[in-house]
């Protein structure tokens, strides 16, 4: 999710490190050293290129990206292109057409989707896309959309299982997610190692929650604030953020989180609406932009790495932005109240669609259409920057700054909105991941007020560390942990997918026969 935003964030984190107190710096260095030596092998393992890809394609293809894309393709084929066939039905489910009015007051499909989305929509959609387009060229957009469309099938699979095998407790609360379908689903199918995989997944989930879901977010939020108000020490941001997060997750001040949960979708809509307005202003270039996207997808248009470079960047971006196959969404979606687990699968497949196919594409289109990428007027090919590792942009921007420049080209005030959006997205992502981490924690150590409090306090401490320091190796490691979740989770999905297919076929035949009725 975050690995490939780092090049974008590098400048910002550099600033943070320079501004952190001297003591924190030496502490940073120590932590960095210890971490790098202890975890470097793991990071290298997760992000290592597919054997031979460099010789064959002239470009290193991380096997984890291939792992996610291959899984998405297999699920797409296995479920007969469910993301296209069931798309209209997914929309009616979210609208509540099939919700029993007697269940009013329970978690609706819409609410589960909105909460899960606020966990995934974030920096990836703003900064990550800019990195992808900046390196892979407009053609990366094509591959990003394709990967987003296929990722819908991965989400469908994991979220159906998440609801089907969740735990329901006597007091009415629920707990769900990959660790529950690994234990219960494997047992049901008579498969071994379910418990082992669940434990492994939980460990990665806790690490991912503290890293990519927390430290990286705090770090980027601070970088955004300093961009607008000027430089100041990161621990100040960290303590403020940690205080708010503490109030929400420990103090139970759900109202604060509720406010962000309300503002985040508004921000998302505002972001897409602004993008559409910019596209409308430049309507004469829309045809050209799509020409660039399709042309670049297959020729590269002079981009470093050519077509393969565009493909890798697009695939990476999509896989890391929508988290399809990682398993986090299965935790978020499992609270919905439904008699049919498969319905939540249908709803969840909208998530990569909104996240990647809509929001990420908007970012890419605005960057392309506002002419941020410099091309050679005579050949029409993109020019590389001096380092030769990315496309030259008009102001030399990359990452968030590139997106910000593209939007500000039409609306100067947009950079302030964007800064607020980034901070809020970061906050809501942190709240979501604190929950995912907590679920993994309680799975390992059992439920209980004190045990939960330990995790919550650790989480808050990591907010401060994340905002104050530039912990390259730690962030590398936590990124690797998020994708290690996908390694374990997708193995489980392959083994359990026949169960999802059975559910799907049964539901679809009942829908056709009219046994499942619309209420509205």
């Amino acid at each position: 999710m975050t690995q490939f935003m780092k090049s974008a964030a590098l400048a910002a984190t550099g600033l943070v490190a320079a501004s952190a107190p001297a003591m924190a710096l030496t502490l940073d260095e120590k932590v960095n050293q210890v971490f790098a030596s202890a975890t470097g092998w793991f990071v290298n393992l997760i992000f290592s290129p597919f054997p031979g890809s460099e010789a064959l394609l002239g470009y290193a293809f991380p096997w984890i990206v291939l792992w996610l894309v291959v899984a998405a393709t297999i699920f797409t084929l296995y479920f007969g292109f469910v993301q296209f066939r069931a798309f209209p039905h997914s929309i009616s489910l979210v609208k509540g057409d099939y919700s029993d009015p007697n269940d009013a007051g329970e978690v609706s499909h819409f609410q589960a989707l909105a909460t899960a989305l606020s966990g995934t929509v974030g920096l990836g959609n703003i900064a990550g896309v800019a990195v992808a387009v900046g390196i892979g060229g407009p053609g990366a957009t094509f591959w990003m959309i394709l990967a987003g469309l296929m990722g819908m099938a991965s989400k469908f699979t994991e979220c159906t299982l998440g609801v089907k095998y969740r735990n329901e407790y006597p007091d009415g609360t629920v707990s769900g997610g990959p660790m529950y379908y690994m234990t219960k689903g494997f047992e049901e199918r008579g498969l071994p190692l379910g418990k082992f995989m669940a434990i492994l997944f939980s460990i990665f989930c806790i690490l991912g929650a503290l890293g990519g879901g927390n430290m990286f977010q705090a770090n980027q939020a601070h970088a955004q604030i300093t961009n607008v108000v000027g430089d100041y020490p990161g621990w100040i941001t960290g303590i403020i953020f940690a205080g708010i997060v503490f109030a929400v997750i420990v103090g139970g001040l759900q109202s604060i989180a509720k406010v962000t949960e309300k503002i985040v979708p508004i921000m998302g809509v505002l972001y897409v609406a602004t993008a559409i307005i910019i596209l409308l202003i430049n309507y004469d270039k829309i045809g050209w932009a799509f020409g660039q996207i399709f042309g670049g997808a297959f020729t590269g248009l002079g981009v470093a790495g050519g077509m393969v470079g565009a493909l890798i960047q697009g695939f990476k971006r999509a896989a890391f932005s929508n988290e399809a196959g990682v398993g986090s969404a299965a935790i978020a979606h499992s609270a919905v109240r439904t008699k049919e687990p498969i319905t939540e699968g249908y709803v969840s497949l909208l998530e990569p669609f909104i996240d990647t196919v809509v929001i990420c594409t908007m970012t890419a289109l605005v960057i392309i259409i506002t002419g941020q990428l410099v091309s050679d007027p005579t050949t029409g090919l993109y020019m590389l920057n001096e380092a030769g590792n990315a496309i030259q942009t008009i102001d030399g921007n990359s990452g968030v700054a590139l997106t910000s420049a593209a939007f500000s080209a039409s609306f100067g005030w947009f950079k302030y909105i964007l800064a607020i959006a980034v901070i809020l997205f970061a906050f809501s992502t942190m709240i979501s991941w604190s929950y995912y981490g907590l679920k993994a924690w309680t799975f390992l150590f059992g439920e209980g007020k004190n045990k939960e409090l330990v995790f919550k306090i650790i989480f808050c401490i990591f907010v401060v560390i994340g905002a104050a320091a530039s912990l390259g190796p730690v962030i590398d490691f936590s990124d690797a942990a998020i994708f290690a979740m996908a390694v374990v989770n997708i193995v489980a999905l392959y083994l359990l997918m026949p169960i999802v297919k059975r559910e799907m076929n049964s539901y679809m035949s009942r829908l056709k026969s009219g046994e499942i009725k619309k209420f509205h």
């Binding site: 009015p101 009013a104 007051g105 609706s108 819409f110 609360t173 309300k262 919905v336 109240r337 979501s432």
Partner: protein, 144 residues
């Protein structure tokens, strides 16, 4: 022929006045009374992950509380009024839900108090009584 009157009740003073008025009407018209208590709820609101997890538990508690502290005292109060009373406890948008109940019960009219609990918010976003008057399919009496 007996008919049904739906009365909206939220425990506020004005809803009590509406109720008294409805009881009088029901007595004189020999009508049955349906007292509707609506818990404001939108399936499109945004919740945090923790709220999602606890929703079912909270809903059970909310229903329990409404039964115990709103509807049960009310039934006690109306037990010797000589009117046949039923209660409806629902989640939803108050105005829509009241009108929905009226349609469902084939009611001949709806009676609501003018200001429920809400104050400033109600003034800004429109009070229940006004909305009911606008969307109801049966005559509506608004009791001040």
């Amino acid at each position: 022929m007996s008919h049904t009157i739906v009365v909206g009740y939220d425990g506020s003073d004005s809803s009590l006045r509406a109720l008294d008025f409805a009881v009088d009407r029901a007595k004189s018209e020999k009508a049955e009374l349906v007292v509707a208590h609506v818990l404001e709820w939108s399936p499109y609101s945004f919740l945090t992950p923790t709220e999602l997890e606890e929703r079912h538990k909270r809903r059970t508690e909310e229903l329990e509380r409404a039964r115990k502290f709103v509807l049960e005292p009310l039934m006690k109060r109306l037990s010797d009024s000589g009117v046949k009373v039923a209660t409806e406890l629902r989640y939803g948008r108050s105005a829509d839900t009241l009108c929905g109940i009226a349609v469902e019960k084939k009611a001949s009219q709806i009676i609501v108090g003018r200001t429920g609990e809400g104050g400033l918010a109600a003034r800004l976003f429109g009070a229940v009584a006004g909305s009911v008057a606008q969307i109801a399919t049966v005559p509506v009496t608004i009791v001040p």
